[in-house]
């Protein structure tokens, strides 16, 4: 399903170029006419488009990095968005609608705890086992690994069980994460300044500062019940990511070795998407539900248009996510490995890249981005079981429009899709919004399958 056509929006054969020029002219003329007709409505549509466009862009970024690495449609991606959003509802359902639809399900807890335990076991195996197996007894190592992963599973179970006091239960994890991150940053920073000479002092300083920051973070989280909501965002994104990773390592990796056609993978992931959607209906019921309110719903007025604080936050998150992914892809060795695998997986394997690990990380990142988009979309409007499929399609359209495999394209495509959806229904009824986005998709697939910006 690799799109090998050379036609992008800007370059290509004569017909494609003519059509592109005509389309751009028509769109500019239409939008210009409409802006002249009612500038205030245009501005408001622009703000609405920005709000949803940021979420689409986030989806497209994750989608594009996964697709351009493994070259098959991972439809779990949509389910991940739903898991992220419903995860927040699961963890914080007491805060929405007076806890009327509060959900607690021991099976769900055990399922996620097992997945986490399995993934921790795999991480330990990949990172530590080979290094330590020369020095220590294999049986001892295996037992230790098993105990650590079971402990991770138990901890996950405890966190999912005591959602009432999420901040207290999670505070050790937050403390550890803050301590490790600080220690690592201080270590890297000082090492660059001091050099190899004072290595012991550097390690000592880093450890002390890490401990101090970690303890402060843990205590802060315990004392602030308001952090529960934000912790639930992080937790639910991480869980969705872990499930994505587990699916790749546990299922797709084996299937890809056997399956000769990406269609097999498509069907398999479709099954996963449907199964997860059905499970969501079973656990949460089918109607749409709101998530707890964040930042209030007082509108902010800018030049006569209004936008919610939360939408501005969404745009900020999308920008940070974009810069983060850009940094990862362009400046780190992992990013180089990801791009190499996207170019040719077999050769990457030959030159010594552990493709399974790298692709698993890509799936993790992709699933986290999707879950983040799901959480933001859920807070912006509401959650419903079909949201996974809808967001998946929107993310896919945005990445096709932007050009699959191009991060800038994903951002631009998401924003463009958000705007087209809004301005497209200026003279049509609101129900036509989805139709318009699919018409856009068909146009691009037929005439410019490589999108606005080609993969580089």
């Amino acid at each position: 399903m690799r799109l090998r056509s050379s036609r992008t929006f800007w370059s290509g054969d004569r017909r494609g170029r003519l059509l592109a020029a005509a389309l751009v002219t028509a769109v500019i003329a239409y939008v210009g006419w409409k802006i002249g007709e009612s500038p205030s409505q245009a501005l408001q549509f622009g703000f609405n488009g920005l709000s949803v466009g940021a979420i689409y862009a986030l989806l497209a970024m994750g989608f594009t990095i996964v697709y351009s690495t493994v070259w098959f449609f991972d439809l779990y991606y949509g389910a991940s968005a739903a898991i992220g959003a419903y995860g927040v509802f699961y963890l914080r359902s007491k805060d929405a609608l007076s806890g009327l639809h509060s959900v607690h399900n021991a099976y769900v807890n055990v399922l996620f705890a097992s997945v986490v335990a399995g993934v921790v076991a795999w991480i330990l195996y990949e990172t530590l086992y080979r290094r330590l197996s020369h020095r220590y007894n294999r049986e001892v190592l295996l037992a230790a690994g098993g105990i650590v992963s079971a402990a991770a599973g138990c901890y996950t179970l405890a966190v999912l069980h005591y959602t009432e006091n999420l901040n207290v239960v999670l505070s050790p994890a937050v403390g550890c994460a803050a301590a490790l991150a600080t220690a690592w940053l201080v270590f890297k920073g000082l090492e660059r300044v001091v050099g190899g000479a004072g290595r012991r002092i550097v390690v000592g300083v880093a450890a002390v500062m890490g401990l101090a920051v970690g303890a402060f973070a843990a205590l802060y989280v315990v004392g602030e019940p308001g952090t529960r909501l934000y912790l639930s965002w992080v937790l639910s994104c991480l869980l969705a990511g872990v499930v994505g990773l587990a699916l790749y390592r546990g299922l797709y990796a084996h299937m890809r070795e056997r399956a000769r056609s990406p269609l097999v993978m498509l069907v398999a992931t479709l099954g996963i998407l449907l199964a997860i959607s059905a499970a969501i209906v079973l656990v949460f019921g089918s109607p749409a539900r709101p998530l707890p309110d964040v930042f209030g719903s007082q509108p902010r007025e800018i030049w006569g248009g209004t936008i919610k604080d939360f939408n501005l936050f969404t745009v900020g998150v999308a920008i940070v996510a974009f810069l983060g992914l850009l940094f990862l892809l362009k400046r780190t060795s992992l990013g180089r490995a990801i791009r190499a695998i996207g170019d040719d997986e077999e050769v990457s394997k030959v030159v010594g890249i552990n493709t399974t690990v790298v692709i698993s990380i890509v799936f993790f990142i992709g699933a986290v981005y999707a879950a983040l988009a799901g959480v933001l979309s859920g807070h912006d409007t509401a959650i419903q079981p079909r949201m996974g499929l809808l967001l998946l399609l929107k993310g896919w359209i945005a990445s096709v429009v932007g050009g699959i495999g191009n991060l800038y394209g994903a951002a631009i495509g998401g924003l463009a899709l958000g705007m087209v959806e809004q301005f497209g229904i200026w003279d049509l009824a609101g129900e036509w919004r989805d139709v318009i986005s699919f018409v856009l998709l068909i146009l691009f697939l037929s005439f410019w399958p490589r999108g606005l910006l080609p993969r580089r």
Binding site: S38, S40, Q41, Q44, F45, N48, L97, S98, L100, H101, S102, V103, H104, N105, A106, V110, A113, S114, A117, G118, A121, Y125, Y129, L142, A143, G145, G146, I147, S149, A150, G153, C154, L157, H161, G285, S286, P287, A288, R289, P290, D293, S297, P299, E301, T306, K308, D380, T381, A382, I383, Q384, R386, E421, Q422, I425, W426, A429, G430, E431, R433
Partner: protein, 418 residues
């Protein structure tokens, strides 16, 4: 390779850990909490224990409500209200000494699912009397079949005008939306609105409310500056609402089928900076809708069936219901559902046969009933309820909303405008 031999063992240890974890979880949490859900079939709780005396054959009637779907919030509590009525009847000795048995099916607020539920009730359970449905769309789907088969349907809350013409066997204790449309149009006109914009859910009920309201408003000389609609699974209404607010209406009219969309629309309207008046129907004034809308609903006016349940019986019912189930929404419709079971019991006592649909129908035509929703109401020759009225209510600020006032104050009957 070494690795291949290790992975299974690693997996086994992880699995063992998971099993331990699972065992722990089961000990910790033997009863997962879940929201109150009505059971699929509800046997009378007071059926006498099988003893030497023979158990009297129960009267069996069907119930169809939107337990899931857009009408979930009120469909669920209406089932509970009906069950409570049946339990009270059975506790008091049943109907002619025979217990009343309700068989509950989910009509999911849509025509197709209503027909499935109807077929199940009539073919499998063999009932001839059905109390339902919650939603107009479901009613319009199942009513033609009921009319053809000679099965009585008595709805507590389906209000679409077309149901009046559905047939001889179709009754309702809900007020026809023609009345609601006139009352809403009059209220908006009397409040000084001359241009309105409207948004409605694409269901028979909400569409009917919009149609009747708009017709009345235009008949009074008003204009509709913009009209938008949305499907039941929508969650983002901002683009439609932007078009409404940009048409600069004096007021916006909202007709929703689900409390979720109604509340969300009100919230998103205010988020878009609209500060003019909002008018709505019953669903948008539901407990859950007001909770979703929060402060955005302050001052919203809704035209709903007389909600105070002033009758002694109505007050008693509501306090009993709250005690038993905790959650109340759309109290008038709860009362209506509750009354329907007593009406059915009264007619069953008269006919003495739950298979006698014709006798039941004739009984309804002749009946004058006083219950939770009002005194001395009856059915006209179209099966429409006579003797009940709508009132205008205004939503209170968040701090003043409570269980007793249901979040709004009653302004009185809708004004009459010539």
């Amino acid at each position: 390779m070494l690795r291949n031999a290790l992975i299974p063992r690693m997996l086994i240890s992880v699995l063992l850990g998971a099993v331990m974890v699972a065992a722990l979880a089961c000990q910790e949490d033997p009863t997962p909490t879940s929201p109150p859900q009505p059971t699929a079939t509800a046997a009378p709780t007071d059926t006498p224990e099988p003893t030497a005396t023979p158990v009297p054959e129960p009267f069996t009637i069907g119930v169809m409500e939107s337990v899931t779907g857009p009408g979930e919030s009120y469909g669920t509590v209406m089932v509970q209200a009906k069950q409570m009525a049946a339990d009270e009847i059975n506790a008091a000795g049943g109907v002619n000494g025979r217990p009343l048995n309700l068989i509950i099916e989910d009509s999911k607020c849509g025509a197709a699912d209503a027909i499935t539920a109807y077929n199940k009730l009539t073919d499998v359970d063999g009932v001839k009397i059905i109390l339902g449905t919650s939603c107009s769309g479901a009613m319009l789907g199942a009513a033609p079949l009921a009319e053809q088969d000679g099965v009585v349907m008595l709805s507590a809350s389906a209000t679409n005008p077309d149901i009046a013409e559905a047939g001889d066997y179709i009754f309702r204790t809900a007020i026809n939306d023609n009345k609601l449309g006139v009352d809403t149009g009059n209220t908006m006109w009397a409040d000084g609105a001359r241009t309105i914009a409207s948004i409605n859910e694409l269901t028979d009920y909400a569409e009917g409310v919009r149609r009747t309201t708009t017709e009345r408003f235009e008949a009074l000389g008003g204009t509709v500056s913009a009209a938008e609609s949305y499907t039941s699974d929508a969650t983002d209404f901002r683009s439609q609402l932007t078009k409404l607010t940009e048409s600069n209406p004096d007021a916006i009219h909202v007709a929703a089928q689900s409390e979720f969309t109604g509340g969300t629309i009100v919230k998103q309207l205010r988020e878009l900076g609209y500060d003019g008046p909002i008018y709505a129907e019953s669903v948008v004034a539901g407990t859950q809708a007001l909770e979703i809308a929060g402060a955005a609903a302050n001052g919203l006016k809704a035209i709903i069936p007389s909600p105070d349940l002033e009758t002694e019986r109505g007050k008693q019912f509501l306090s009993n219901f709250r005690e038993r189930y905790g959650f109340i929404t759309l109290p008038w419709f709860l009362g209506s559902a509750y009354d329907d079971v007593f009406i059915a019991a009264e007619c069953l006592a008269m006919t003495g046969d739950d298979q006698d649909a014709d006798g039941f129908r004739d009984c309804l035509y002749d009946l004058t009933y006083s219950g939770a929703i009002g005194d001395d109401f009856s059915f006209d020759d179209k099966g429409e309820v006579v003797g009940l009225a709508n009132v205008v209510v205004q939503v209170l600020p968040v701090a003043e909303r409570n269980l007793d006032n249901q979040g709004y104050e009653i302004l009185g009957a809708a004004p009459s405008v010539q």
